[in-house]
Symmetry: D2
Subunit: 393 residues, 4 copies
């Protein structure tokens, strides 16, 4: 057992930390931050900075321009990136692109990789992942998928509705989950410019960190050629797990950084601001909130590191990533909520970045499986036994 980081990783951590502090934090009040995320001009500027720093798409293999980091290394780096709401965009490791690149690298054909992964990894284009559907379609329960693909010669014709499609507006390519009539789910790739893809509207949401916001997308007789099937037909749900188990964890990593930021802002305030005769933080009622933040950040980081290490052993780690997701999304939410409280009136305004992190993070307990679905999965594994717990790992 060893909790130390290699010198290389410690160095990388320091570099990213400095990069975020020096290059990215100053852009947080840039007016190109819109209610639907940083706009394309801002995104391009951020990506240029990340590229210049040699930190772009670090989770992608060097072959496609990344740093080829393993999961543990990502845990270190992504936390640092998440320290600013703009950090993951600047390093090209924001959702959903980060997970989409991971999936493409894992299962796409060489042609598909050249066409889509390479420009994605370069930050030249963006992508979206079209899975979630409005009622009565697939929400927390993917088995309720309603989007239909029908074979027509050497093409597939796709019809259906999706929503909460993060980054749809402005994306160049979509990964689409659809099913054959009564058949299993399959993933397809499609250029967003294809006839038959309609972005009906943008959804107004609490969060403002994702470029392109969240869209409602309709497929009306969308035709995709056979070579655009992603992986094997019928394996859609399995691939969703290939994407989700690590994607879930990278969310945890980034939000850990964001919560640490909120805690740091709150701590600085608690040191500086006085009330009732002493610094706020000297009041136990406030000091205890900071201590609870410290503990929540600590155990979250450990749960993330552990899960990352498990994934690095080459297993899918569904149990560990479920645990990391629930622990992280709930503990980090408490951290940010307490940070708001410590800040008092300033906490609920945009005088600091904390209100933004607060609004951005609420969805974390919901997407990639709400806490309730993960708790249920964890419970089922416990009940099934033998024990799922990694007691020796």
């Amino acid at each position: 057992m060893d909790f130390s980081l290699s010198p290389e990783l410690t160095d990388l951590q320091a570099r990213v930390r400095a990069f975020i502090a020096d290059e990215i934090v100053p852009l947080e009040r840039d007016p190109r931050c819109t209610p639907h995320g940083p706009n394309e001009a801002l995104r391009a500027e951020l990506i240029a900075k990340g590229r210049k720093a040699g930190l772009l798409s670090s989770h992608v293999s060097p072959e496609f321009g990344g740093l080829g980091l393993n999961h543990v290394a990502k845990a270190i780096l992504f936390e640092e990136a998440g320290y600013s709401p703009l950090g993951p965009v600047a390093l090209n490791i924001a959702a959903p692109d980060e997970g989409n690149m991971h999936l493409l690298e894992a299962i796409a054909t060489p042609q598909q990789k050249e066409r889509w992964l390479r420009p994605l990894a370069a930050g030249a284009i963006r992508s979206c992942f079209c899975m979630t559907e409005p009622p009565p379609g697939a929400g927390a329960d993917p088995a309720m998928l309603q989007t239909i693909a029908m074979q027509d010669g050497d093409e597939y014709v796709i019809d259906g509705s999706k929503w909460f499609i993060t980054g749809a507006e402005g994306a160049a390519v979509a990964i689409i989950m659809a099913k054959f009539a009564d058949g299993p789910a399959t993933m397809f790739l499609a250029d967003m410019s294809s006839p038959g893809i309609v972005i009906e509207r943008a959804m107004d949401s609490l969060d403002t960190c994702f470029p392109g916001g969240h869209g409602v997308v309709r497929f009306e007789g969308l035709r995709v050629p056979q070579e655009n099937v992603l992986g094997e037909p019928g394996e859609g749900f399995r691939y969703a797990q290939v994407r989700l188990s690590p994607a879930r964890l990278t969310h945890c990593m980034r939000w850990l950084g964001a919560a640490r930021r909120a805690h740091d802002v709150a701590t600085a305030h608690a040191r500086r601001r006085h009330a009732f005769g002493k610094a706020l933080g000297e009041h136990e009622g406030v000091g205890f909130m900071l201590a609870d933040n410290e503990m929540d950040l600590h155990v979250t980081r450990l749960a993330i590191w552990h899960c990352a290490w498990v994934l690095d052993q080459g297993v899918l780690g569904k149990h560990e990533s479920s645990i990391a997701k629930v622990v992280s999304s709930e503990a980090l939410w408490r951290v940010v909520d307490r940070s708001v409280q410590v800040l008092g009136g300033q906490g609920v305004t945009h005088e600091t970045v904390v209100a933004r992190i607060f609004a951005d993070m609420r969805a974390f307990r919901i997407y990639d499986g709400p806490s309730e679905v993960h708790r249920w999965s964890i419970a089922r594994r416990i009940l099934r036994g033998p024990k799922p717990r990694a007691e020796s790992a």
Copy 2:
């Protein structure tokens, strides 16, 4: 002991409920709802509706155009008004005007009442309450007041900075808390058009329900005549309690309605949306959240009713209103947070009104005394003994 409502109150409750449902809810998506609250045109339209329904300024005495409700009656009516974010504006019982009218009616001179209370009660003008200051001034600790008033002949000259001044933009009149050099706090009235009042900027905040938003205000040599002193010089902090104890409670009442709305929206969703083979609400994980909402709403309502009844006995009820404030602001927050969770993705978007209630309500645990300050006050009373608890009341 009797928990029943009089027939008159039951009838009033039904009228307000229908008014909100029929007249106000349909306006919730009106584009005149801005990030800094409903604009003046929308406010005027809402007030006109409230006036037509005969429900305007119900807490003000009939002499000034209100219904003269006691605290218990307000508990019933304000909950109904709070069911829509626009309801309190429509009934002219939104903060800070509601508390300001209460204070003016309690301590203003006849001339002051004619000049400001009457048009306020008619919804013709708005007001603001200028107490909170940026560091190192008065925040949670009012004793840190920095705004200075100096007598100059038969005028006072006021200098200082205020922020989080709700409704400052567009207000016609301000109640200003200031102190004489080393002396006690005093309240002053001033027309917002007076030379020497500068609204420096609007503060961007999570909430969007208060007309005029929240402003940063500077007093630069503001001159107010002696007759604009509100009440007695030196009694500012005492009057703040006269205003705050009931104002704290009316916040609880309105937010109770808002949380009930969130719960109703979540319940409807849990009945209708299916996942994993049954309605969401049939899953215990979701059903338990609805049950917890029900219990939190119930005990909050009881704590509010009890405190309102105590205030109706003619006492200040500082202990009871502190308890009601902490219980309400924390329990109702849990209700709204759970409602977001039940709604899943829709909960964090503006597909329903719940995300708006969520963003509006976070500040409730902070203003009018953060939970930490109230807990400390409650603790001091317990330690001082004899028991503060109203065991027989």
Copy 3:
């Protein structure tokens, strides 16, 4: 709406409070308090005190020697009784006798009342309620009832196993829930001395407040005459509700008193004991616990009073009593747990009465329906709609 108590009730409250303080608290360290509850000698002494004070069996009608209190009056008196672990025994209002008397008065025949209710109300005998069964029988789910009654001429023959039978050891009479083969549940009365009733063993439990402890009981060919059917055959589950809805609430009342006691002991300690330069209670970390106790006690009391008032309106109040049960059992547990924490080392020893209250109260979240079953019932009512909530009551 009125939260005041009548002068009669205020007087009764004061009398019981003084009685408990003067007569009962001094007996708390009596060695006749055994791990299985106060023994019969101590119980007889306590009952004698209660009788002398004219406070015995206050929930029973005067016809049978009680005071005929309504539910609201019981809420006041039972809270005072619960202030000592021995108080409910002294006033003959402890579970299960209290609920059994209530049930007998509601549905027993005149002959049954004379035979069993009269001596029960006089404290001359004790009773038990035989419903819960070991697996695979009836636990939280009463429908799993396994105890069988078969008609044999003008007698019934009962066979089955029960456990967690509070007060079985030393009880004179049992109310037995059994069912006909595939038929509905029926209640029977039987003298505990009847052949065919075997008390297999006492169960060692955390609590030590119930006379007779908790027993495992077996019925082996127990023969009861037809006149011992309690109420109508086949109505057993309905009667269980008749018993449980108020019995659940009287538990809440008594434990409210116990939790108030724990809070008072903790408060006295927090005033007296010093650490780090000031009284414990002056530390916010401790003061906040006391404030949270105060709030939990307050809302619990309101929820109990409300439910009592609802029952006094003549309705069964299943929804309200479920809510009161969950709110009380969870809030009061928090109070007692915090009181232990405030007391530090003394909290986990029998230096004060708090450790005993702690051990006694843990079962409260489990018996008469665990929190989980009540949450589920509450959820079902919410989902079924129209709203179950007593908004105007």
Copy 4:
């Protein structure tokens, strides 16, 4: 970073697990388990088993008969030992002996080690640690120490009162914290048979796992020779930290095992017991409790492992051990409380071992620094900055 265990450690873990299951669990209902802990006969039998298994005093160096485990190895082994309330006694790693041996090995003279450490490590004798005092002495605040040592020739004369002295009854040796008049604290060693040591009484407590229970001890003119000073005079508080930082952590390790046991018992019950048409665990309300247990156990284990690793780096780790203590004592308490709830009625009786673990564990949030004191220490370090958090470790 590496979460794997060495083959040696995995093997040791398996051996201890089997030993506890086969040799110790069967003794849990032995009547020699008294309210004041396992009696001396049972302790001797348990120690004999531990010795035979070659697992005795594993934290002590081989020189004195132990296995010389580092902190990480202890984390693995002590968790397994804690799986039974009797396990730590059998392996001679129970508090307070375990911490006392650690302290003696760290700072005692060779003569002191031969005289007391050697027989302690062999399980031949027991020891106690006399620090905590009744009011107005040292409780959570060690600076309030009242026990006085006065030099008299080449002896010290000690007078004072101590309580909560775990294991005092039956101990052969005491470590005594006392101070010179107005001077710093010093540690002394004394045979418990010395004239001048009076065990006034045993304290009845909720827990029953510590041999000898908890005693009230008085020193009346106790004379100890100079060679019985432990370490340097005036360094008592520093040595207390040397003892406490790891002793705190070994508590966490043992209780982790205990909580895992409770969870396992609850899980088995949830698999087997049915209600409302399916296994208890199939109800989300129960399954979620098991999932929360799993997560609490997981993050607790990680926090313990991390802190153990930090201590193995040779630092005192006060911050990390404070965090591990608060996280563990609160998370493991939740686990045990939920396990009781899952078990229903059986949870509050001694039908299973869970009620015993529940009663044993409540004190864990209090001793070795209550949560409130640790939160305050953590807060002070955060406020002092630079960040105390081990982000790269």
